[in-house]
Symmetry: C2
Subunit: 356 residues, 2 copies
DNA sequence: TTGTACGCGTTATCAA
DNA sequence: TTGATAACGCGTACAA
């Protein structure tokens, strides 16, 4: 048997000549209790180093005071900066309502949602924020059905709709803002450095360019999310006749490769060519020139999802509106890597290539 | 009263014609129970979507299954990349022993260790990893005294010793490796970009240089951790007669500023001047040239601290060795920003300045 | 405003 | 190997 190093509410009550009920009330916000006795109790508790045993409390209250964050397929949330930022928002919202945050971990015995099942069926958590990767099998979520544990799903907007509370990321919003920004600067030959597989940002680009009759498939190059690969892709874009005067990269690391390739070709950024990134990672503010990019307010995404969850956890509005959806959009951050189109290049568009 | 959406162990037992005790045993690893009955129970549980209520379990077992990470002064752990990496290691070690991780949050009512007190006195967690900032008042830790909640402290090695289990970071190890690396490449005029306040890395530099009779206070410049400020400091270093042929920066962001200043002065890195950073942030692998730097294996730091904690949490070895200390040292990562000293500069050392 | 007494769902002890 | 039952420490009707 363990060393019982902590006082219980019972000992405290006898010591004060009160009942356990009264002592309990002293720790319950809004309970009917005389102010004087409450402070007498709290003072004694303070002196003795007493706090109500949280495990007993949780059992009696039928709630754990914990919110879970689960990302099936991502064994360790903290490995992924996107998820860290998301968790930051969730943690902020949760803690300001008195909830703790629990992160998913490697399941001990294999199954991908073993932990989630334990969380929900064992009432380890009072609510769950679920980040679903593209293509996640929805049948797996049956384990949530009929339980008293609300759940909010975070997914990108290309995911097919789910009959759950969800917050989705509207990537098109920021992408279109970036493209419009370039058009306002006079650019017409706008390249796109895509990461495989093409997603809603890519689609936004395609539709935007087509709508303006500017689409040209040779303005698109594919790369993975490494500087080296992006550099190659950028060189490829710069090699086409009538080269782009601006390039939109699917993410900031790719944009960094583009910056490097441009420098290698002797092109000044933004003087000779404009570059826009995506995601606004820390790096983006540190490049030379500082990168214009599209910011994904991931922390806000997490906060909003959590607020939605907390509301669903209210005992009254329980099952009402179990199918609402919220959108969080991305936005353009203008820094120093974009500028009006250069005069010389405008000439090119007029007919002949005066460079190289 | 809440909707009781979950089955209890009692219902399950009557449904199976067994006692609650037996059903409970089915979920206890290593309990004396007939294999056949166990699988019968588990099958039925699976079918009904039953998991033992964790809150009741925690109360009966007198343990929460949670480990807490507290960093007094840092309201949000996830804001700080160092702490995130640390948490990653803690999470990994904790979860592989079946523990969950709880992060500190903004205390609701002000006090700096309010939450820690609640955690320990209320037995919210079974153990605590405590990251202490320099100068943290040790008296505050009285709240841990006499409790059955073990604690491991993580601190830098300049902290005065505490009578607690602790893991400290040996920053000198990597710093000296970096300096030796430069010496082996032939450098003698080695600059140091220090961040205020001077710490053990700074001290390691000073002692190393003095031991080799190379110390010169004009080789040291102070800067805060911004690119702009570091750039200025580097220009200052480059302006001294007999300029350094290598520079050691207190962190990678500062090193980035140094890289930029060098380029502005027309100096090639590493051809004309070598640069070493510190911390090995993601950025370090993406600069041009890729940055040689000192890596702090923060994740390992967290893992080791947690393993120490888990051992202290074993019921048997409870209070034994409550004063052990472990050291985790930093190490040099050689990339492309360091090279042997250039011939021309060697000439300078011979007597006259042929540059500028 | 306070006290009594029961319930929360499991685990652990002891006997069968 | 199984069953009956007492903790575990606290919240909360209900009554006073």
């Amino acid at each position: 048997m363990r060393n019982r190093s902590s006082i219980t509410i019972k000992e405290l009550s006898t010591r004060l000549g009160l009942s356990t009920a009264t002592v309990s009330r002293a720790f319950t916000p809004g309970a009917r209790i005389n102010d004087a006795t409450r402070s007498r109790i709290l003072a004694e508790a303070e002196a003795l180093g007493f706090s109500p045993n949280s495990n007993a409390r949780r059992l009696a209250q039928q709630r754990s005071g914990l919110i879970g964050l689960d990302c099936p397929g991502n064994f360790n949330i903290l490995d992924n900066l996107f998820l860290v930022e998301l968790a930051r928002g969730i943690q902020a919202a949760a803690s300001s309502s008195g909830y703790g945050l629990l992160l998913n971990t490697l399941p001990r015995d294999g199954g991908d949602v073993t932990l989630l099942r334990e969380w929900v069926h064992g009432r380890v958590v009072d609510g769950v924020v679920l980040v679903l990767p593209p293509g996640f099998p929805m049948e797996t979520l049956k384990i949530l059905a009929g339980r008293d544990v609300p759940c909010v799903v975070i997914a990108q907007n290309d995911e097919r709709a789910t009959p759950l509370r969800r917050v989705t990321l509207d990537l098109e919003h920021g992408a279109l803002a970036a493209l419009r920004h370039l058009r306002l600067l006079g650019h017409r030959r706008i390249g796109f450095l895509s990461s495989n597989p093409p997603d809603s940002v890519h689609r936004a680009y395609t539709e935007f360019m087509k709508a303006d009759n500017l689409f040209d498939s040779s303005l698109i190059a594919y790369t993975d999310a490494s500087v080296a690969s992006a550099r190659n892709a950028m060189h490829q874009l710069l090699a086409v006749s009538d080269r782009p005067t601006a390039v939109f990269a699917r993410n900031d690391v790719i944009a960094l490769g583009a910056l490097r390739a441009a420098r290698e070709m002797g092109l000044g950024v933004p003087g000779d060519i404009s570059v826009i990134g995506h995601d606004d990672i820390v790096l983006a503010g540190l490049t030379d020139p500082a990168l214009t990019t599209v910011r994904v307010d991931t922390e806000r995404l997490g906060r909003i999802a959590t607020e939605m969850l907390l509301e669903a956890m209210q005992p009254n509005a329980a099952n009402a509106e179990a199918d609402q959806e919220l959108k969080v959009h991305t936005e353009l951050i203008v820094r120093d890597s974009t500028a009006p189109i250069a005069r010389a290049v405008v000439t090119i568009h007029a007919g002949e290539n005066v460079l190289a």
